[in-house]
Symmetry: D2
Subunit: 343 residues, 4 copies
């Protein structure tokens, strides 16, 4: 019997509970292990804040958003003495293997602890932005895309005035996957992403040309990290004290610019954290469940220092070192396909 | 055989197409009439922009958002000569009775034309804000409430950090019905409405007390027309050139104030026109259908100068004059019930 | 300080948890009471199966379907000695007032216990079928209607073959409210309800005439309790050992009859308990919350032997005796409105 | 300038309109072609029933279920003289290349016409069951899985009685992909698929063991084509005159068997064509759009006799001959993962 630790770190992402359930069920029912949850990410390991996990208290969590373990951005390497506390907790709790679920920061800590020989780790990747090269998809991404698509669908049916432009600001600070997918799925007339600084004059001309051709309505999807080309405008991409892009930055900027330059009735929708919440789609539930099961399977085989990942139809294992080294940007071919519909 | 005119004016509202379908089906199938749609509200009457409506071209529109007739805020009494053009169009089209679907402005024009003896009118009320005393509910309101409630549900499941405040800005410039209903349905911790200017200090203290008692999360629903008490803050309630409340006004203001005063991670969600779009809820479809049928029935009975309205379970008729005179504010008892849950 | 008991009896209904939360919040926070939940309806009172209810364990239940207290169809008047046990439990638990949430059976027991002077009662009505004269709406009804409407919407877009008939069987054993509302909201071409035994020949002819006029598709919504007129066909309305209408009874019957008599591709959809589950709509959450608050308010005023009810916009109190005496059938005028669209 | 023909054949599948839009936009806007739709699948080619397709009449169809072209199961090789008529129509309409969207039957005809040198073809695969080896996913599949998952979620919250078993019958006559995915996503306690004939005794024992361990509720997802092992029971898998599995066959059978053998309150839900209708999920819209664009691109490159397909993240081309030769059954490893959760 092994004792398996689990934690969730970083921003919320629909599917976290499905991963936890997957790890615990396989660990307890099949492998006969004990499972221990650390509360609030690495903070729970530092502070010894734990909760035993079993079949009962992970029952019914599959469809739930958020994480029953809580989360934080705590980094034990950022505070003197915290790594020692991590060692202590792992010893006190007799943790044989740890399954951290998180993004670059959370798994980066895991990798370092693993490299330092402090713990056996199998990571589960988590980024709602889907910007990780090491996996085809991360869970939560399709859910976010669906939420944005539903919102765009609703905007498409509003038709009050003759010249209206809807600006939809979505998540994506350094990669535009959510903007691209939801824009394609929603039938957007323009998609602005961080990978391609936009020329505001061109965006405005594009919209004007549409309306001159008789269209009365345009939808612009913009990733929060998209930035205007050139130096003089700096709204986009700013971050606040919480490390978030300043709310309404680029969406409100575009609303204002389009309105001022065209006289059209431009209106922004800013979904914010609505994109991170609620029940995961079926796709994300299956992916998250498979990730959880695959992570504990890898751990039981002693295949540590790895991260689980989706490749085509299969769950595979990649070295943590490689996994975290490269972020995935939007595929130019897919963007070109989307552009076909910008008309 | 009579010729029945139909138009939709003002802002979008889920259920407009259901009303149109209701009028046309009853008018054509049961009463053997002809139906004529005017495009873009009163602008279509002024300009003679019409489309014949029949069973075929109103088939399948029941679940669709928006309005197949288009809308506008055109007021023929605002432009010299337009009332003459209205007379001409009504004569040319041989309109025996007109069923305008709209809010205070649209029906106000109808009433004046009716008072001036220019046309026989039965109005259908439309305000997504539900702020009309003459009817228990307007269609579209429950749809907007449901959309906001779904968003609040999603926000409830995000739990990244210890001290987070979600600010949800919703429609409602002069009445807080959407904020109150969606706040109650979503389990909001505070609801700010135009009827009750809020004290920002009190709002902040309320949130802080919650968090001191161990809550890590608060949701504040704020109507776009809610305003801080006192003179020094003037963000809320401003309107832009389009007559809309300035986007992000009060929501972004609150986000900033709460963040600055508490240090908590406050985040705004601004749904904007997403609240006006998409398929109506079943409740609104039934209500809109009943309104459409009742309007043509009243017209065929020659009961003009009236507006259809919901009273309890029944559709009744009220004089247009009375109908438009009084706006409905939030019921203080219902607000008090909501407050029970603010803890 | 009073001790307030709560129980939920009979079939599931979205909104039960919202009522429980409403009672407990108002009872504990405002009135300073203690709340006690009885598990599995009257069975929990008979057997002394209780759970203390407080602000913490009723937090977050507002959007959840089902009931945290469980339910049953136990009737203490049906088993010798059970009424004695009820007396004992109420004494042991020192219950000052009881708020049962349930339908005719559950509240009937409450009324009898109240009449026998054994307990102070304020009831909350619950019937997903909305078939209670004493209230304009019961919670859960709009949720069920919405679920069926969503299903009908989906069926409307399928268009494989030229002559297809979709039969949708919905809840409603003795009253057709769900069938009528969802049929109106979904644009059904025929609605069969228990209040009006149908002539299968006429139903078939109606569909054939539609298709002869060029329609390629018909949707028939049928309440589980609808029955063919005449004696020779007896499929509909049968009940099984659980008191439910035999599954697929009338839906499968109609599918078979229509297919056999027309040669069209008739297909049945049977939603079953999907109609009873999941999160309540915003409308039902507000109604259920108001019912819960109003019930404890009535109890604290000593206004016992009553049931809360919706009349127009207001929550009122009606004597339990009257409340249970009359069931509400479909309004013929509303059915006539629906018929306008059967074309 | 080339003339491009498009048709949709076989059963409905959410995403068909997205493919049509994708083909037309790319063909007309980028390649400068003309697009012609054939109505009702191959029947439209046989009978010369066409509709010109352009940017206008394919605008707004992206989110719509069904197919604007209609569909049928007509096979020109099944009727003497029909292949001649196909030749004629293709000549009259001057079709340079044809893009049929369909399943084995529809594309099988395309392949034969292509092999016979009668037309240049690039196929788009369509099977809601996702049972095609040549592609990772087909569009519509994730939508169907989501619809079933939503239904299972609702069933999970109903909790009336102590021993309840919900049987959910889903599509899948020869492969259990929908059952497996929705069962995993919904947290099913048993999943019965055509690939694994089930032992009814074992299913019943499994449920009884769960309930003996204290579970009060079980959910069984069953594909319509699942069959009991052994010869004596033959309900499942029967087909009617329309080639569909007999409605309610296996779902109603299981409901009856479980009820009879356990005394539990077993209840069936039969979603039927609800699974095929309505708006596609974002995932399916993106996939369908990419398929449409890739098909016309292949055709413009003269790469005929192929079918587009998803491999990992990429759209690739496979020979029609290979594409249709092998059906895809459920991956035993994925089924094993699902079984982990059957407990």
């Amino acid at each position: 019997m092994a004792r398996v630790g689990i934690l969730t770190g970083g921003g919320d992402c629909p599917g976290l509970n499905a991963v936890i359930r997957g790890v615990v069920r396989k660990a307890v029912k099949v492998h006969g292990n004990q499972a221990v949850g650390f509360r609030y990410g690495w903070a729970g390991v530092v502070g010894g804040n734990t909760v035993p996990l079993d079949l009962d208290n992970t029952s019914g969590i599959l469809p739930r958003g958020g994480t029953i373990l809580g989360s934080s951005r705590t980094n034990p390497y950022g505070m003197d003495g915290d790594v020692e506390k991590v060692k202590e907790t792992l010893a006190v709790e007799a943790i044989d293997m740890l399954i951290p679920i998180g993004g670059e920061d959370t798994l980066g800590v895991a990798r370092r602890l693993s490299d330092d020989g402090l713990i056996n780790v199998v990571g589960v990747p988590k980024t709602i932005d889907n910007d990780l090269s090491a996996t085809d998809f991360t869970f939560g991404f399709q859910t976010a895309v669906q939420i944005v698509t539903d919102a765009i669908d609703r905007l498409h049916t509003t038709a009050e005035s003759h010249n209206r432009v809807m600006v939809v600001e979505v998540m994506g600070r350094s990669a535009g996957h959510i903007a691209l997918w939801s824009g394609m799925a929603g039938g957007a007339d323009a998609i602005l992403i961080p990978e391609r600084p936009f020329d505001i004059d061109e965006v405005v001309r594009h919209i004007q040309r549409r309306h001159e051709r008789g269209k009365t309505f345009s939808i612009v999807v913009v990733a929060e990290g998209a930035t205007p080309a050139g130096a003089e405008v700096t709204t986009g991409g700013e971050t606040d004290a919480f490390g978030h892009a300043r709310l309404g930055g680029i969406g409100v900027f575009l609303e204002g610019e389009i309105r001022a330059r065209t006289g059209y009735d431009a209106r922004a929708t800013i979904l914010g954290h609505v994109q991170r919440g609620g029940t995961p789609t079926a796709f994300d539930r299956v992916l998250a469940t498979r990730f959880g099961v695959a992570a504990i399977d890898a751990a039981m085989e002693g295949d540590f220092g790895k991260m689980v990942s989706l490749r085509g139809q299969s769950i595979v294992r990649v070295p943590l070192a490689d996994a975290l080294s490269e972020s995935k940007l939007v595929d130019p071919d897919l963007y070109a396909t989307a552009e076909t519909f910008f008309g």
